[in-house]
C-alpha cells in the first residue's frame, strides 16, 4: 500500500511548496522570535515531506536517511536557538527581533 499509487507525486510537490511558503510567510510576517522558530520548523518539514515523497517514488532509503539528519539538525538548532532566546529575553525583557539591531554595519 502506498499513497503514490493513488495520488500523483505532483500533489506532494504542490503541498510541500505551499507549506514552505506558509513557513516563509510566517518568517516575514511575525516578529516574535519563537513564532519565527516555528515557521522555520514548518519550512524544514516541508522539505522533509518532499524528501520522503521522493524516497518512496524512487524506492530509495537515502531520502529517509536525510530526513533523519534534518531532524537532528533541527533539534540541535532549536536547542541552541532557544537557549540564545532565553538569554536575550533575560537581558532585554522581550524577544522582538526588531530590537536586536546591534549587528548593523
Amino acid at each position: 500500500m502506498n499513497i503514490l499509487e493513488h495520488v500523483g507525486i505532483e500533489n506532494y510537490l504542490t503541498l510541500s511548496a505551499l507549506l514552505f511558503c506558509i513557513g516563509a510567510f510566517g518568517l516575514l510576517y511575525r516578529r516574535n522570535a519563537i513564532i519565527m522558530f516555528m515557521s522555520i520548523e514548518i519550512m524544514l518539514n516541508a522539505v522533509n515531506l518532499l524528501l520522503v515523497a521522493f524516497s518512496s517514488y524512487h524506492e530509495d532509503p537515502s531520502g529517509q536517511v536525510f530526513v533523519f539528519f534534518t531532524m537532528a539538525v533541527a533539534a540541535a538548532e532549536v536547542a541552541v536557538g532557544l537557549a540564545i532566546l532565553v538569554s536575550v529575553f533575560r537581558n532585554i525583557g522581550n524577544i522582538d527581533i526588531d530590537n536586536l539591531k546591534n549587528l548593523k554595519g
Binding site: 500500500m1 502506498n2 499513497i3 503514490l4 499509487e5 493513488h6 505532483e10 500533489n11 510537490l13 503541498l15 511548496a17 505551499l18 507549506l19 514552505f20 511558503c21 506558509i22 510567510f25 510566517g26 516575514l28 510576517y29 511575525r30 516578529r31 516574535n32 519563537i34 513564532i35 516555528m38 515557521s39 520548523e41 514548518i42 518539514n45 522533509n48 520522503v52 515523497a53 524516497s55 518512496s56 524506492e59 530509495d60 532509503p61 537515502s62 529517509q64 536517511v65 533523519f68 539528519f69 531532524m71 537532528a72 539538525v73 533541527a74 533539534a75 540541535a76 538548532e77 536547542a79 541552541v80 532557544l82 537557549a83 532566546l85 532565553v86 529575553f89 533575560r90 522581550n94 524577544i95
Partner: protein
C-alpha cells in the same frame, strides 16, 4: 479512499500551519503546530514509512515542541508583547510569500514526472532493518557527525542559557 485521506490530511497540514503563523497567542501557535506535525506524520504513514512517522512524532511533537512550550512558559509572554508591524511590512510579507509560492509552484509544475504511473516493485526500502543498514554503512560518517552536533548543541545550549556569574 486513500485519496480522500490525503486531501483531508493536506487540508489539516496547511490549515494548522497557517494558523500557527497567524495566531496571536504563542501557546495557540504551538498547539496548532503540534497538530500540523501529527498530520505530517499521517502523510508519512500514507507512504508506508511507519518508522519515520514514529520518529517524527517523537522528535518534533515530543522533543522540539515540548522545548518550545517550556520556553514560552518560561518567558510568560503576553499577546501585547508583540508590537504591531506596520501595514506596509505586512503587505510586503504577504506579497513576498505569494511571489515565492508562485515561483515555486510554477517551477515544480514544470517538472515532468519520470513515470506517470507509480508501480510498487515490492522491494523493501523503508523498514527499520534497511534504514539501519544504510544509516550505519553508507552514511556512517555523517551519522557520527550528527551525534557530535547534537552533543555540541547540548553543551552550547546549557552554556548560553546559564545565568552569567559575576566574577
Amino acid at each position: 479512499m486513500l485519496e480522500i485521506v490525503f486531501y483531508i490530511l493536506s487540508a489539516i497540514t496547511l490549515g494548522t500551519a497557517f494558523l500557527t503563523v497567524v495566531s496571536k497567542n504563542a501557546i495557540h501557535s504551538a498547539i496548532y503546530l503540534v497538530i500540523c506535525f501529527f498530520a505530517l506524520a499521517g502523510h508519512y504513514l500514507l507512504f508506508n514509512s511507519q518508522f519515520l512517522a514514529i520518529v517524527h512524532i517523537i522528535v518534533y511533537a515530543g522533543a522540539i515542541m515540548v522545548l518550545l512550550l517550556f520556553t514560552l512558559m518560561l518567558m510568560n509572554l503576553d499577546n501585547d508583547d508583540e508590537t504591531k508591524k506596520p501595514l506596509f511590512a505586512k503587505l510586503a510579507a504577504v506579497f513576498s510569500a505569494g511571489i515565492l509560492g508562485l515561483v515555486l509552484i510554477a517551477a515544480l509544475r514544470k517538472a515532468q514526472p519520470e513515470n506517470i504511473e507509480y508501480v510498487n516493485s515490492g522491494v523493501d526500502y523503508q523498514s527499520i532493518k534497511v534504514l539501519g543498514k544504510v544509516l550505519l554503512n553508507e552514511y556512517q560518517v555523517p551519522f557520527e557527525f550528527a551525534s557530535i552536533l547534537l552533543l555540541v548543541s547540548m553543551i552550547g545550549a546549557v552554556l548560553i542559557s546559564k545565568k552569567e556569574e559575576k566574577i
